[in-house]
C-alpha cells in the first residue's frame, strides 16, 4: 500500500503549505508581498508539523561508540514492563506531548501526523503496552493519519514473535533493525548487547511476522574491521532482503569508550583510504543488488525511502518528544535536556508555560539557506535550484554554480536538468553568461556517488563560504518583486 502512495518518490510528501493568518499579516506589513514570498521556504517552518520523533532512551548497556542520550538498564533487562524507570519515563513523555502547543490553533482542522519515528536508545525494549500509550496520546493530541509511517528502531535480542506482533497491532509498520555487523567478534568489540545468533533470530522474526518495510542498519569502519568482513556483512544483509539498508560510518566521539581508545585513521581503525573503500564497496554492492542510494547513508528498494527522515532532509518541521530530542517548529531547532532530571523539569516548565519550544522571531535567511543546502545535498535528489532561487534569489544560485563548477570537472558534483539528466560542463559555462539560460538548463545540483558523498563535508563547506559572504540577501528577497 505504501508503495503505491509513494511513486513518484517525492511528490506525495509535501503538503501544500497553508500559511497561517498571522504570518500573512506580517508579510504584508513589511513590504509588498509577492506570490513567491508566500510560497517560498521562508514560510515553510510555519507549516504545522506532520512528523513526530519519539525518543525511547532505554538500552541494556551503552555501546562503545555511542554518545546518544540513553538510559542503560543493565544487560539482564529484557523484560521492562515493571521497571519503574521505564514506567515513569513514559508518563513524563506523555505529559510532554500533552503540554505541547499546537501550532495552528486558529485552524480548526488538525493536521494529523503522517510519520512517527520511535528512536533511541532501544525502543524495542519498551513494553508494547507502553508504546501503545504513547501512540494513543499522539492520536488524541494531533491525530495520526491512517496511512502514517510508524517506524521503530529495534535491536536483536530485545524482542520475540509475540512482541513484534503486538507492536504491529499497535500500528508500527516500519522496522529499523540495529544489526551493525555480521561478525561475532566485531559485535563484541563494539559493546553490543547481542551476539550474531540474535541477529539471525531477529531477522527471522521480522520476516516471519510479515513486516513489509524494514531496514538493516550497518556500521562501517569499526575497529579491526577488514574489507573481507565488510563485504560479508553487506552480502548477508542483501541476502536477508530487507527493503532498506542504512550504512552509517563510525564516528569516534569524545567521551565515548572508543573516543578514549582510538583516534580516527589510526590502527585498529581503518585508514582514510580503507574507510573510503568500504563506503565505495557498500555503494557498489547495494546498487548491484538493486538498492537505490537515495541519501548519503541510506539505500532502499524502489519506493521504500524512509518518509520520516525525508522530513529532516527537506527542511520540513517536525515535533520531537523525549530526552535529548530535537524538534524543528516555526523555524526553531529546539533540543531537550539530555539528563532525565533536567528533562522532567523541562516538562514541568512546559506545562506551566514558562518555556516554549517553538517560537522564534529571528529566523535569518542565511541560516535557512545553510540548512537547506546542507540537508538537501545529503540526498541523491540534491538541491532543487529553482526552489532555492525562489527563496533566496538568483545571485546566490549563480555564486553556488560558480563555486561548484570545478568540482563537476573533478567528478564530485553533478548538475542535472529538469529530466534529471546530467548537464555538461561546457553547457554550464555557456549558460553562466545568460541567467535565464542557466535556469532553463540546470534544475538540480547533487553530490556524486560515491566520490562526492565521500567528501560531502568539504563540499558543503564550500556552499557555507558562499552563503557567508552573500551580502545582499535582504534585497535578494525583494529583487524579484
Amino acid at each position: 500500500m505504501l508503495k503505491s502512495t509513494f511513486t513518484p518518490i517525492f511528490c506525495a510528501l509535501a503538503p501544500k503549505p497553508k500559511p497561517s493568518t498571522r504570518v500573512i499579516t506580517n508579510t504584508f506589513s513589511n513590504s509588498t508581498s509577492t506570490v513567491r514570498q508566500n510560497s517560498s521556504l521562508k514560510n515553510n517552518p510555519t507549516i504545522t508539523p506532520s512528523s513526530a520523533y519519539i525518543h525511547l532512551p532505554f538500552c541494556r548497556k551503552r555501546c562503545h561508540y555511542c554518545d546518544f542520550p540513553i538510559v542503560a538498564l543493565g544487560s539482564a533487562s529484557t523484560q521492562t514492563h515493571d521497571d519503574p524507570r521505564v514506567i515513569n519515563y513514559i508518563q513524563w513523555l506523555c505529559r510532554e506531548i500533552n503540554a505541547t502547543k499546537i501550532e495552528d490553533e486558529l485552524d480548526s482542522a488538525k493536521t494529523p501526523l503522517k510519520t512517527v519515528f520511535f528512536g533511541g536508545g532501544t525502543p524495542s525494549l519498551v513494553p508494547p503496552s507502553m508504546v501503545g500509550t504513547v501512540l494513543e496520546t499522539l492520536k488524541m493530541k494531533f491525530g495520526v493519519s491512517e496511512s502514517a509511517e510508524i517506524s521503530m528502531e529495534m535491536d536483536p535480542g530485545t524482542f520475540d514473535y509475540k512482541k513484534m506482533e503486538e507492536m504491529m497491532l499497535l500500528g508500527v509498520n516500519r522496522v529499523s533493525l540495529g544489526v551493525q555487523a555480521f561478525q561475532e567478534k566485531l559485535l563484541k568489540s563494539c559493546g553490543r548487547a547481542h551476539g550474531l545468533e540474535e541477529v539471525h533470530e531477529a531477522i527471522d522474526i521480522v520476516k516471519k511476522c510479515g513486516v513489509e518495510n524494514w531496514s538493516i542498519d550497518l556500521i562501517a569502519s569499526l575497529p579491526h574491521q577488514t574489507s573481507e568482513m565488510w563485504e560479508e556483512s553487506l552480502r548477508l544483509a542483501i541476502e536477508a532482503r530487507p527493503t532498506h539498508v542504512s550504512v552509517y560510518d563510525l564516528q569516534i566521539e569524545q567521551g565515548t569508550k572508543f573516543g578514549r581508545l582510538y583516534s580516527p585513521g589510526e590502527f585498529p581503525l581503518p585508514s582514510e583510504t580503507q574507510s573510503a573503500d568500504f563506503y565505495t564497496m557498500a555503494s557498489r554492492m547495494l546498487r548491484d543488488a538493486n538498492y537505490s542510494h537515495y541519501e548519503i547513508s541510506s539505500y532502499c528498494k524502489s519506493g521504500y525511502e524512509c518518509r520520516h527522515n525525508f522530513t529532516y532532509w527537506k527542511y520540513k518541521p517536525f515535533y520531537a518528544f523525549g530526552l535529548g530530542s530535537t524538534s524543528f517548529i516555526g523555524g526553531l531547532r529546539f533540543s531537550r535536556p539530555r539528563k532525565v532530571n533536567e528533562y522532567m523539569k523541562f516538562v514541568e516548565n512546559l506545562e506551566n508555560g514558562s518555556v516554549n519550544s517553538s517560537i522564534d522571531d529571528n529566523i535569518n535567511s542565511k541560516d535557512k539557506a545553510l540548512d537547506v543546502v546542507m540537508l538537501s545535498l545529503r540526498t541523491a535528489r540534491g538541491l532543487d535550484l529553482k526552489h532555492f532561487q525562489e527563496s533566496f534569489g538568483s545571485s546566490l544560485v549563480l555564486s553556488l554554480v560558480e563555486v561548484y563548477k570545478p568540482y563537476v570537472e573533478s567528478g564530485h558534483v553533478v548538475f542535472l536538468d529538469e529530466q534529471r539528466r546530467a548537464v555538461r560542463i561546457d553547457d554550464i559555462n555557456n549558460s553562466l553568461l545568460d541567467e535565464t539560460d542557466l535556469e532553463r538548463r540546470v534544475a538540480y545540483m547533487r553530490l556524486s556517488d560515491p566520490n562526492g558523498f565521500l567528501l560531502s563535508n568539504e563540499l558543503i563547506a564550500l556552499a557555507f563560504g558562499v552563503i557567508d559572504s552573500w551580502k545582499d540577501y535582504p534585497s535578494a528577497l525583494q529583487e524579484a518583486t
Binding site: 520523533y53 528512536g119 542498519d217 542504512s246 552509517y248 560510518d249 563510525l250 564516528q251 580516527p264 582514510e272 583510504t273 574507510s275 573510503a276 563506503y279 548519503i296 547513508s297 529532516y312 517536525f318 520531537a320 530530542s325 530535537t326 524538534s327 524543528f328 531547532r333 533540543s335 545553510l370 540548512d371 546542507m374 540537508l375 545529503r378 570545478p406 568540482y407 573533478s410 564530485h412 558523498f453 565521500l454 567528501l455 560531502s456 563535508n457 568539504e458 563540499l459 558543503i460 563547506a461 564550500l462 557555507f464 563560504g465 557567508d468
Partner: protein
C-alpha cells in the same frame, strides 16, 4: 626677558622644575613667575595648560662652553637605558620612581626588546661642584646644560646613529662588567672613533657577582687602546659610581665648536608625528641661533617653513622660544609629514641662503631589505593601508609601494634599512594598529645586467622575468662586513656556519684569552633569513653579532620559482645563489608539503629554475572526510563542524585551485 614669560609646558614639568629648584643650585637660572604649583600634578595634557604662567628657562645663560652634547653607546642589554634613566633622575629631569623605566624608549617594541629605535634627546641642567667647593684653584663651579642624545644602537639605524653622533662631541661607551666587549660595542666604538668623539668608557653592572671589571679594562686596552685608568666603574642599578659620570662628561668632553656669530645652521636629528601638533623635529643648533617666528629652509628639499614653536626636551617638550649655538631641542614648523624631515638635513635661515654651506654627511635613506606585506584577510586591505600610512608618518625611512600578487591580492612592497627595522615595523603594525599581516620572504636589492647593457635593480623576485628575453651577463648582490665576538670554544661551529653562508674571513683575533673577535664579509641575503637565531643557538647565546653595509659583489644568482599544480606562486619566488638552489628548492617543497592540507584533488608542488624543475612533492587527494552518522533532527553539531571547516577555508589563500594556508608563507621565511 619678557618674551620668556610666555606660558609653556605641563604642570608635570613645572613640578620637575620645582624639584630642580629644590635640590639643584639652579634657582638663579630659572625665572619663575609666581611659582604657583597648584598641585594639579595629574594634569599632563600640555595643550590644556598653555595659559598657565610658570617657570621659563633662560637658555641665554648657557653659552657653548657651558653646554655638553653626548650620547650613550652600548651593546644591547649592557645597561644603556638604565644609565640614561639614572642621569635624568640625578639631574632632577625626571623624578625618581615616577614615570616608567627606560624613559627614553617610548615605543612598546623598544621596551619589549630592550632596544632603541627612535633617537631621543633630553636636556638636563647640572651644577658641577668641584671637590665640594664653589671656588677652588680659581675655577668656579658652574651650571651646565647637558644634552643626552639617545641613539638607536642597531646597525640598521647606523645612518641615524652617525647623524646623532654628528651632534655630539663625546660618548659614554658602556660595557657590561661581566659580558665584556661585544660585537655592537666594537661597531659603536668605531663609529664614535671615526667621528673624532671623546670616548668615556663606563664599565657598568659592577654589582653582579660575575663582574670582572679588570678583565673588561684589559679588553678595552687591547681592542680600542683605551687607557684602563680612564674607565668609570658604575652600577646604574645600585647607583654606585654614578656621581663620577656627569663630572667626567663636563671635564672630558669638549663643548660644541659652533660659531655663535655665524648665521644659523642646524642639523636635523630625527622627527616624529604628533596627532595634534604635526611634525616635531629634533635639531642641534650648530651655528647661530634660532628664534621663534624665524623663517627657515631645508637644504635637502628647499622647502621653507616658519619656526612656530621652539624649545628643549626637558624631558617633554618645553618651549623656550629660542635655541642658541650648541644647544639641542625641538622645532615645530607646520611640516605635513615626516617625509619632509630628512634626517641629517641642514636647516638655515631662509634669508641667508647664499652664505650657508650644508653640514656634511647628509644621505638619503638606503633600503637594504624588501618584503611584501599583505593583509592576512584580503578584505582588510584598507585597514592595512591606513595603518601603514600612519606608521610611516612616524618612520619616514620605510619605502612603500603598492604591490599586487595573484596569490595574496593587494598589498605593499616595503623597503627597510635592515632586518631589525623590518621586524620592528611588522611588530608596530601589529601592536599599535592591530594589523594582521602576511609578509613574504624578505629579499635584498640585487642588480641584474643584461646583454643589451641594461641594468635592473630587483626588489621583488616576482618582478624578475623567469625566462628573460635578454641574456643575463652578470648579477651583483649587496654584502656586509660582519663583526662577531664569541667565547673561543664556539669558533669551530661558527666558522662552519659562516662558510655555509658564503662568508669570507677578513680578520680573526683574540680580545683576551677567552674571547675571539672575527670579521667576515657576508652576502646580505645570507643573514637576512634566520642567521642570528642560528648563531645564537650554536653558541648557546654567547656570540654577539653586528654588521655594517659593504659594497656590491658579483654573484651567481638564480630565481627560484615555486609552482602549485603547474602555476607559479609569485609571492613564493626567491632569488638564491646557484650553489644552494637545489637544497633550498628541496627544503621549500618539503616544507610546503607539510603545511598544505590534502584537498579534493592531488596537488603537485614544484621548485623550478626557469623551465627546469629541480624538486617535486605530491600531496595526495583527500578521499573521505567525516561522513554523516544518524543524527536525526539534531543538525546543530554538524552545522558547527561545517562552519568551522568554512572558517578554515576562509583563512586560506587561493592559488589557482589550491588552498594555501597562511602558515605556508610563514614557514617559507624559515628556509635560508
Amino acid at each position: 626677558m619678557g618674551f620668556l614669560r610666555k606660558a609653556s609646558k605641563t604642570l608635570k614639568q613645572s613640578n620637575y622644575v620645582s624639584l630642580l629648584f629644590n635640590f639643584n643650585p639652579l634657582s638663579s637660572r630659572i625665572t619663575h613667575e609666581r611659582f604657583s604649583i597648584t598641585r594639579a600634578l595629574f594634569c599632563t595634557q600640555s595643550r590644556q595648560n598653555y595659559t598657565k604662567e610658570k617657570a621659563i628657562i633662560d637658555l641665554s645663560q648657557y653659552p657653548p662652553e657651558l653646554v655638553r652634547n653626548f650620547s650613550i653607546i652600548a651593546h644591547v642589554d649592557h645597561g644603556k637605558s638604565t644609565l640614561a634613566d639614572r642621569l635624568l633622575e640625578l639631574t632632577g629631569t625626571i623624578k625618581k620612581g615616577l614615570g616608567q623605566p627606560q624613559y627614553l624608549d617610548k615605543l612598546q617594541v623598544e621596551r619589549e626588546r630592550g632596544i632603541t629605535v627612535k633617537a631621543q634627546t633630553a636636556t638636563m641642567f647640572y651644577k658641577n661642584i668641584i671637590n665640594g667647593d664653589d671656588f677652588k684653584d680659581g675655577k668656579e663651579s658652574s651650571n651646565y646644560l647637558l644634552n643626552l642624545i639617545d641613539t638607536p644602537g642597531h646597525v640598521d639605524f647606523s645612518y641615524e646613529v652617525s647623524r646623532s653622533l654628528a651632534a655630539c662631541q663625546g660618548v659614554l661607551l658602556v660595557v657590561d662588567a661581566a659580558q665584556g666587549v661585544q660585537a655592537q660595542t666594537v661597531a659603536n666604538f668605531y663609529l664614535a672613533f671615526e667621528s673624532n668623539l671623546a670616548i668615556i668608557p663606563v664599565i657598568n653592572k659592577i654589582d653582579q657577582p660575575t663582574a670582572d671589571p679588570d678583565r673588561v679594562k684589559g679588553q678595552l686596552k687591547s681592542m680600542f687602546d683605551l687607557d684602563p685608568s680612564d674607565a668609570l666603574l658604575t652600577s646604574a642599578k645600585t647607583g654606585v659610581g654614578l656621581e663620577h659620570v656627569l663630572p667626567a662628561v663636563i671635564e672630558r668632553i669638549p663643548p660644541p665648536p659652533g660659531k655663535s656669530e655665524s648665521s644659523l645652521r642646524m642639523l636635523l636629528l630625527d622627527s616624529y608625528f604628533d596627532e595634534y601638533r604635526g611634525v616635531i623635529c629634533h635639531v642641534a643648533v650648530v651655528d647661530g641661533a634660532l628664534r621663534k617666528g624665524d623663517k627657515i629652509s631645508s637644504a635637502a628639499t628647499g622647502k621653507s617653513y616658519e619656526a612656530m614653536d621652539i624649545g628643549i626636551m626637558h624631558p617633554e617638550l618645553t618651549p623656550t622660544g629660542i635655541l642658541f649655538t650648541g644647544q639641542v631641542g625641538y622645532v615645530i614648523t607646520g611640516m605635513r609629514t615626516t617625509k619632509e624631515a630628512r634626517i641629517g638635513d641642514t636647516i638655515y635661515h631662509t634669508k641667508s641662503t647664499v652664505d650657508v654651506e650644508p653640514l656634511p654627511g647628509f644621505k638619503a635613506a638606503k633600503h637594504m631589505v624588501f618584503s611584501g606585506l599583505f593583509p592576512a584577510d584580503g578584505s582588510d586591505f584598507e585597514a592595512l593601508s591606513h595603518a601603514i600610512e600612519k606608521l610611516t608618518c612616524n618612520d619616514a625611512s620605510v619605502s612603500v609601494t603598492k604591490e599586487t600578487s595573484t596569490a595574496l591580492g593587494l598589498g605593499f612592497r616595503c623597503g627597510f634599512l635592515g632586518l631589525l627595522h623590518m621586524d620592528v615595523f611588522h611588530q608596530r603594525l601589529e601592536q599599535e594598529y592591530g594589523a594582521h599581516i602576511i609578509s613574504t620572504v624578505p629579499t635584498v636589492p640585487y642588480i641584474y645586467e643584461y646583454s643589451d647593457g641594461s641594468k635592473l635593480e630587483v626588489q621583488n623576485p616576482a618582478a624578475l622575468p623567469s625566462n628573460p628575453k635578454q641574456r643575463v651577463v652578470a648579477c651583483w648582490e649587496p654584502t656586509v662586513i660582519a663583526t662577531i665576538v664569541m667565547p673561543s670554544e664556539y669558533v669551530g661551529p661558527v666558522i662552519t656556519l659562516l662558510s655555509e653562508r658564503r662568508g669570507e674571513q677578513l680578520e680573526y683575533s683574540f680580545i683576551d684569552s677567552q674571547r675571539v673577535f672575527m670579521k667576515y664579509r657576508l652576502p646580505l641575503r645570507e643573514i637576512v633569513i634566520d642567521f642570528y637565531n642560528e648563531l645564537k643557538s650554536i653558541t648557546s647565546g654567547y656570540a654577539s653579532f653586528d654588521y655594517e653595509d659593504s659594497d656590491y659583489q658579483p654573484s651567481d644568482l638564480v630565481k627560484l620559482d615555486i609552482l602549485l599544480n603547474g602555476q607559479a606562486v609569485d609571492a613564493m619566488a626567491t632569488i638564491v645563489h646557484n650553489s644552494k638552489s637545489y637544497r633550498v628548492g628541496r627544503e621549500l617543497v618539503e616544507k610546503l608539503k607539510k603545511v598544505i592540507d590534502r584537498q579534493m584533488f592531488e596537488i603537485i608542488i614544484q621548485a623550478a629554475i626557469g623551465s627546469k624543475i629541480i624538486a617535486r612533492e605530491t600531496v595526495t587527494a583527500m578521499r573521505k572526510n567525516v561522513l554523516a552518522k544518524c543524527y536525526g533532527g539534531d543538525i546543530t553539531r554538524k552545522k558547527k563542524l561545517l562552519e568551522k571547516q568554512k572558517e578554515g577555508k576562509k583563512r586560506m589563500k587561493r592559488v589557482g585551485s589550491v588552498d594555501v594556508p597562511q602558515e605556508a608563507f610563514h614557514e617559507l621565511l624559515k628556509v635560508s
